[in-house]
Amino acid sequence: MKVPSPFKTWLVALVVLHGIVACAGFFAPYDPVEQDRKSPYLPPVRLHLVDASGHLHLRPFVYTLNLQAGSFEQYEEDTTQLHPIQFFLSGAQYRLLGFLPCRLHFFGADNTRIYLLGTDAFGRDQLSRLLFGGQVSLLAGLLGAGITLLLGASIGALAGYYGGWRDTVLMRLAEIFLALPWLYLLFALRAFLPLAVSPLGAFFLIIAVIGAVGWARPARLVRGVVLSAKERDFVRAARGFGASPAYLLRRHILPETYSVLLTQAAILIPQYVLAEMTLSFLGLGVPEPVPSWGNLLSSLQQYSVLVSYWWMYLPALVMVPFFLGYLGLASALQERGEAYKIAGRSLGSLM
């Protein structure tokens, strides 16, 4: 029996996780911004197999939770009617993968609403918000890392290949960028921007900002690889045959950096997801009511939420499999011997 390589295992796990988030509309039972004002801070619903009179059911079912009379936060189960869980049923409209209009949902129930992970202060479904919030946070991480790697690779290659004063200037610039207290700079930047930024505008702003801030480290790594690659025999030979710098970079030198860049990507993506979460947690990210993992957690800044509603912590747990996946992938990449030592050093400093 062939044991799958750790690289493939991690990759498949990540693809599945991202697939679920990408198809959030299908897996989420409800619209993430829809308020159910009758059920604020509803605890996660219980799935039953045995009903109140002791009968066993094969299909799991739920009881509707109603507010206790006179209370505004205590719920009780209405055991007079059970609602079996239905699969593949029609519900709120959404756009699959962002463009396909669709109404099919993975699960739900007739005549009641199922809140598997409870609701927030406005009675919005936490599970739906979690899935849709993942779209914002993960996409911000992916795109941000993409921008960073593009910038880092170009700047690093330029500095490494041409050397001389260009190298000096670019690398000093990189050091300045590494030294910047960027979180506080972002606060300052936000103050200069117009007051009301639309959710989409805020999203791209975040991506641009976190993407532009982090190029320095990959640029230094790429520069190191390019420095050694350009002195290799096959590169010298190509140069001797009259190859142009652009051809040399594209054909011979940059391919040498791919494994470094891949490992960097596996490290940067979770880092940038976390950066987006930090910004949104502090109120600098996408504005309400659009969910992101960061602003889902921001209600925990209130003491009363912190001690009363444990299901508000769940968004913090959700990132664990994602981060684990990415870090596992990064070390698998390393183990495959494709990563250079220098990348390993930066990985070590990160963990």
Partner: protein, 599 residues
């Protein structure tokens, strides 16, 4: 450092000696004290008789700046000044009616222009110096002096002329007004009487403004309130001690206050205040959010939480109705065309789900609001004010009448278009430090989405929010809250009048911008000189109706007064007026525990 420690221990030594001496002396002088009391006109308070001694700790949301009422602008300073000073006539926070204070009695002449006040006998400042009519005359001279810039000055100008204060004898003062004044003797509430023997010199030197810093207040200041300065530790706490010359007693003749010490801890954050109360570091807590209240209620260990009922705070949404003239951008002009339309504002008001705000923000501990008079204000509310239930249909009808229509937006949702076919989009500012108001705004945002309006919520730090609303005036709409200081309408004068600084949608106007604002100005003026309560109430009712018709402020909800105290605190009765829990501080006492009775 070393020097001060030496002095301290010396002080303690001499204090002990002093106590021994006093104890002996009190024994001897017991008989003659009765005679002295006869001359001294103590105010006898009804209610539960407590036991003397002990120290009570409360938290203060930030550090007070001064004990000088002439320069105090922040609420922390005013809270501290409130327990160190006294006024001539006082509004009872429980009954919301006036009662005698430093003035034993008062008389208003039939034409309403002359107020004659008679002071109590034997009054003394907290440093033991006697008080007489000259101190009162001095106080009002200072308040009215333009060079002092006292915030109290505006209240003492009636009919465009300052009130004239005249001394008749050592205990009788006459106040002469140029015009009748609707509020009557309520005018004197909160006007602290100043110690002439300490302040006359700095006043003449023009240095009153620098007087009364907390660090120096022990020697520089004396008041007539139940407590006086003892110790101030910057950044940590303020310790006040019992004023032995206080002029009130309980039903059994014990001189008040009961407490030996009152300690204010500076705790800037509401959640931190809750934690301090929960851990027993503070004895009382007030101004709680409903969520924190229910957290504390859930595990009452040694303390009791009290829902004091509807308060006087009103939360509202308003649109930017300032007239910036040619300076404003075309975009702003387009938006203001909607905002200026009363039907648009009425539609917004009709679409707001106030009942949901009360449930979700206040967990039922609040009331929906349709007018400026909060339900806690029992005497002044207009019963007949329309309270239309939420109706999206009616809101849509109103918008249609005003020329709005609906089209398909970017995501297939219906979006509201104005008469020029532009979609209706605006932002609402809200204070980022106030979780309740942020929640309220999120609910309003969702309500307006049902009408096809695209609304963005912008949380801002409170000071920059205030700056935008009152100074730069660059905003679309804003959600804010104001708490009336008194049940009487006059306390909200700056909200009502178009010239007022808190006339938020268009503050400090030179001339009323609209006919209805002119009408409110006129009505407010006429109620000021109305003589009877019924007459004033009728005018005031009309003012509330004009507001309801025009909706410059879309009122949302009002929170209940939520407070709590350890079970050991006696006479704890939160009021709906500020200061919510310290209004009867002289009667508060500790039932058991750590008091070190020195009497």
């Amino acid at each position: 450092m070393k020097n001060s420690r030496v002095t301290n221990s010396y002080c303690r030594m001499s204090l002990i000696r002093l106590f021994a001496f006093v104890a002996f002396f009190v024994h001897v002088a017991a008989a003659s004290a009765q005679q002295k009391n006869a001359k001294e006109d103590l105010q006898v308070l009804p209610g539960e008789v407590g036991r003397p001694g002990g120290r009570l700790v409360v938290s203060l949301r930030g550090e007070p700046k001064t004990v000088n009422p002439l320069i105090a602008a922040d609420t922390r300073s005013r809270e501290v000044i409130g327990v160190m000073q006294a006024d001539l006539v006082h509004i009872n926070r429980a009954t919301q009616l006036t009662e005698s204070a430093l003035a034993k009695s008062w008389k208003i002449s039939p034409d309403g222009l002359t107020y004659t006040l008679v002071l109590r006998q034997g009054l003394r400042f907290s440093d033991g110096q006697p008080l007489d009519a000259d101190d009162v005359i001095f106080t009002f001279r200072v308040y009215l002096d333009e060079n002092v810039h006292a915030p109290q000055r505006d209240l003492l100008i009636v009919g465009g002329k300052p009130i004239v204060v005249r001394k008749v004898d050592a205990h009788t003062i006459v106040f002469q007004l140029a015009k009748t004044y609707g509020v009557g003797e309520r005018l004197f509430d909160g006007l602290a009487i100043l110690p002439r023997h300490l302040l006359e010199k700095p006043y003449q030197e023009g240095k009153l403004g620098q007087f009364g810093a907390l660090a120096a207040a022990r020697d520089q200041w004396a008041g007539l309130g139940p407590f006086r300065m003892k110790e101030y530790v910057a950044g940590q706490r303020l310790v006040l001690e019992r004023n032995p010359y206080y002029w009130k007693s309980d039903a059994k003749g014990n001189r008040l206050p009961y407490l030996e010490e009152l300690v204010f801890l500076f705790v800037p954050n509401a959640d931190a205040q809750v934690l301090k109360f929960q851990s027993g570091e503070t004895d009382m807590i007030s101004q709680l959010s409903a969520e924190n209240f229910s957290v504390l209620s859930r595990q009452q260990r040694g303390y009791t939480m009290t829902d004091g009922g509807p308060g006087l705070e009103y939360n509202f949404l308003f649109f930017n109705l300032n007239d910036a003239g040619d300076k404003s951008s075309p975009e702003m002009q387009r938006k203001q065309k909607w905002f200026r339309d009363a039907k648009f504002r009425l539609a917004v008001s009709t679409a707001v789900d106030r009942e949901a705000i009360v449930r979700l923000v206040y967990q039922g501990r609040g009331s929906a609001l349709w007018g400026l008079v909060a339900p806690g204000n029992r005497r002044w509310g207009n019963e007949k004010l329309p309270r239309p239930p939420r109706s999206l249909e009616r809101a849509r009808m109103l918008l249609q009448e005003a020329g709005f229509s609906w089209g398909n937006g970017r995501n297939g949702e219906s979006s509201l278009l104005d008469s020029d076919g532009k979609s209706v989009e605006f932002s609402i500012l809200t204070s980022s430090s106030n979780a309740d108001r942020a929640k309220m705004t999120a609910l309003v945002q969702d309500d307006l989405k049902q009408l096809g309006m695209r609304v963005q919520v912008v949380p801002l730090e409170f000071r920059s929010l205030l700056d935008r609303v009152t100074q730069s005036k660059e905003y679309d709409a804003c959600v804010m809250g104001i708490a009336s200081l008194d049940a009487d309408p006059n306390s909200d004068i700056n909200v009502w009048l178009s010239s007022g600084g808190t006339h938020l949608w268009n503050p400090s106007q030179a001339h009323p911008a609209t006919l209805w604002e002119a009408e409110i100005d006129r009505l407010f003026d006429s109620q000021m000189s109305a003589r009877t309560f019924d007459e004033r109430k009728k005018i005031y009712d009309r003012m509330q109706e004009v507001m309801a018709e025009q909706q410059p402020m879309i009122f949302l909800a009002s929170a209940n007064i939520l407070a709590g105290a350890k079970n050991s605190v006696g006479n704890f009765h939160p009021a709906v007026l500020e200061p919510y829990i310290l209004w009867n501080v002289e009667q508060l006492y500790l039932k058991t525990g750590t008091e070190n009775a020195t009497r």
